[in-house]
Amino acid sequence: MRAAVFFLSIVFLVFSGSAQAQSIIPLAQKGGLHAAYVVPVDTFDRVDVQLIVLSGSYDDPDPSGTAHLTEHLAAFSADATILRKPRERDIYATTHNVATVYTNSGLPSEAEMLLRLSRAVLDTPSVSRKFAESEVAIVQRETLLRERQYPFRWLSRMALQNLYGTLRGRADNTVEDLPKLSLEKAYQFHKEHYVPSNVTLIVSGNIEPARAEELVARVFGDTEPSDAPKKPWLDQKPDPEKQSVVRLQSDRLQRDTVLFAKFVEFEDRSTSIDMQGAFFIASGILNERIAKVLRHEDTRILNHGVNWYFAKNADVELVIDLQLMPGFSVDEAKDLLTETLAGLLDEPISKYEIHELRQKEVVWSQNMARRPSAFLWFLQNVAADGFPPISPSVFAETLSNTTDQEVIDFAEKILQPSATSFVLAEKAD
């Protein structure tokens, strides 16, 4: 589960308003799939099928990037198998930290074809050897391109490598591993991870539940359950005393940047499934308080972003990205952020603050339901951990069922001393 807040100075994307309820209906005739759901909504005249393989870059073997290469092979293979005419739609597949998501969208009348495209992802990729080998080069090109375009990628990777003291699992070594990418590792990854028991299917949009049930049974009913792959990265914890600080200069940066990462372990919990509400409200309140200091009371930070990752075993990874105004040094920014986090709960969290945050989150979620792509992201967010998806209306219910004390306890735990990592990056000419 991931929550992210980015504050931009010109564009403010926050949505609100009343919206219809979106039921999450489990489908029984799902073959061996881990889970399958239909989320009927008639807001958009389309159907979307999300096939979520519950393995992502955290599950990479050596080398890093294997899950990504597998995604490319599976997507092109599925596309070539099912579609045999000029391309009318683009392939949408993304490798996230803990999951790889394949999205097929179309008209309601195309629902079965969309499901068959999704089903084909689970078949062993059937592209020519020559094509597959050259796809390795494409993945290398893509990785280098993203590295250049989004410095956050390599800055956060460096922060996480230093936090966890490893190049695998929760951290990765993507760029250095590029020459080691191999088709054999990718096919092996597909064999181990693209198994029905490691896959969640979500059908959403303008479709009757009974029809979705029938089609999913027809297309996925023959899949057999199997052992889901192990997740060794879930046991990966940093040294609690870790306090890493590194410095660098780079001509790839637009401006001076500070990257901060922090790991928090809820030692007494083994699953985050019943902590979702507390996570969303507490992280929202902390985001608001951070913004109050760094954006509203201070003008030396140009932009800041706060990224939260709440793992299925209740580990929390917090990454904060500060883009600095000219003249404000990375050391001053580090001190400001450290001081801000240390004092973030000096004023106790009030009932009113929790109430208001609930309202903001509900308004935000209702507006996610107004836009197809945002709605899909919302559904996949929690489902990527193997939990049932949360729709905006279910989200509102979850928040209302969360007690104030749960929120306060969660926020206090986040700010207790734990492993941290700073990267102080200065722009070079």
Partner: protein
């Protein structure tokens, strides 16, 4: 596709509201004439939207950035009764989206929110416009955000294209070196574009406009200076120089290749036909560049074409790919070959029809869900507003342009490949002497692309 309500209200506002005394020294941005109110079709996603349009005489890049920063400061920096944090909270609680945009000389602020709270949002908007209380440091931060990205650092085709279109739209010789004002107030806009079905929203919009000061209070210090010092690019040809812009980065393993051409069209049909051909060349995974450069040559992850509408019947055509440094001459040659093939009429009609359907759906979807984009379409066509029936010929062209005729006329809808500017950023060999024959400019690291565009335009090579 019918997208317009076809209703135009020209609203004359006789009543003016005096500025509060303590704001008397603020630079007032407002029209001296009437405000034109136009109502376009309501949005489809239960939201309402209002776009306020202020016109800048003789826009320069610096001034546009300053005005954008000023609008951002006004709508986020707080009021006499609400802190910036309280304003932010209000926007989140009501689900308000604010976007600042531009179409030519027109700067826009588009505010959208769920329809059920929109009247309340208009009251808030009135308050922030009348009583802004942002600090100079707040403005400085917004100004820093408004500054164009130096695309040679990010090496994103979209950033490079942004620099190229800025070069076309703003007088390259016009710079604003003097210290700019930091205290602005935005008064009566030149135009208002409304996307709502509610009478209450229309009524409150009129009240909002009535409450804003007109330009007779304009002090005109900084803006007047800008205007006086500006020689103007009106009438300048809409064209990019030919030749090569080259940033050589020996440490880079990649090379970004971008070819660009600015083309004016005689009508919307030609513009749309050209757009369709450009999409066919490289806009998506069904395109020729994807098929050849990505899937056959395996040379690039991101080969693509772009058609950037810069104004009425004006567009920038761009072809780009990021490739392994050593392979760039070969890929550059292949891009030209693909382009020439399409220009010669080598187009599969069925695939072009798919591109037309995709673009049509995109225009339709964005018009009914993205009010900022919709406002820009209107302003591109009617920068000074319109009275009477509202038409957007580009939208109508989807019903009249045939793919067969588009293919037949490809050689006139697409400019010759020899007329393209070539931008190279990254590693690999230097361009050959033959390639340099139309002009060559070595771009210093960290310099904006315009540095070389000026030199090539003035034949300083």
């Amino acid at each position: 596709m019918r997208v317009f309500k076809g209703r135009l209200l020209a609203v004359l506002f006789a009543a003016l509201t005096l500025l509060p005394g303590e704001r008397a020294q603020a630079e007032l941005i407002a029209t001296a004439g009437e405000t034109k109110l136009v109502e376009l079709s309501p949005l489809e996603n239960d939201t309402s939207a209002l776009t306020l349009v202020w016109t800048i005489d003789h826009p320069t890049l610096d001034r546009t950035a300053a005005m954008s920063a000023a609008i951002a400061s006004v709508v986020t920096g707080g009021t006499s009764t609400r802190s910036s944090y309280e304003v932010s909270s209000f926007l989140k609680l009501k689900g308000v989206e604010q976007k600042i945009g531009r179409s030519g000389k027109n700067l826009t602020l588009t505010v959208s929110a769920p329809s059920d709270v929109f009247p309340e949002v208009l009251v808030h908007l009135e308050n922030v416009l009348l009583e802004p209380r942002y600090t100079p440091n707040w403005y400085a931060r917004e100004l820093e955000t408004s500054r164009p990205v130096i695309s040679t650092r990010t090496r994103q085709p979209s950033d490079v294209l942004n620099e190229v279109t800025n070069y076309l739209e703003f007088d390259p010789a016009a710079t604003d070196e003097e210290t700019l004002e930091t205290d602005f107030q935005f008064g009566r806009p030149a135009q208002v574009i409304l996307r709502s079905e509610e009478e209450e929203v229309t009524r409150r919009t009129v009240r909002l406009i009535n409450s804003l000061p007109g330009a007779r209070f304009r002090l005109g210090r900084a803006l007047s200076k800008w205007a006086e010092g500006w020689t103007g690019a009106n009438g300048a040809p809409f064209a990019l120089p030919k030749g090569i812009v080259h940033l050589a980065d020996p440490d880079a393993s990649e090379m970004l290749i971008l070819l660009a051409n600015a083309k004016a069209f005689s009508n919307a049909q030609d513009q749309l036909g050209s757009n369709l051909l450009v999409d066919y060349i490289g806009a998506n995974q069904g395109s020729e560049m994807f098929r050849v450069i990505r899937q056959s040559m395996r040379a690039s992850y991101d080969p693509r074409s772009d058609f950037v509408v810069v104004g009425k019947n004006k567009g920038v055509i761009a072809l780009s790919a990021t490739v392994e440094a050593s392979a760039w001459p070969e890929v550059h040659g292949k891009i030209m070959e693909i382009y020439q093939g399409v220009r010669d009429g080598g187009v599969v009609p069925e695939s072009l029809e798919i591109q037309k359907d995709r673009l049509d759906r995109t225009y339709y979807h964005r018009f009914f869900t993205d009010p900022d984009w919709g406002a820009r379409q209107f302003l591109d066509e009617h920068p000074d507003g319109v009275e009477g029936e509202i038409t957007l010929p580009l939208f109508e062209a989807f019903r009249t342009v045939s793919t067969e005729e588009t293919i037949e006329n490809a050689d006139t809808l697409l400019p010759p490949i020899e007329e393209f500017l070539v931008i190279l950023i990254g590693g690999g060999v230097s361009p050959s002497a033959d390639m340099r024959s139309d002009g060559y400019c070595a771009l210093p690291k960290g310099a904006p692309v315009s540095h070389c565009l000026n030199k090539l335009s003035n034949a300083e090579y």
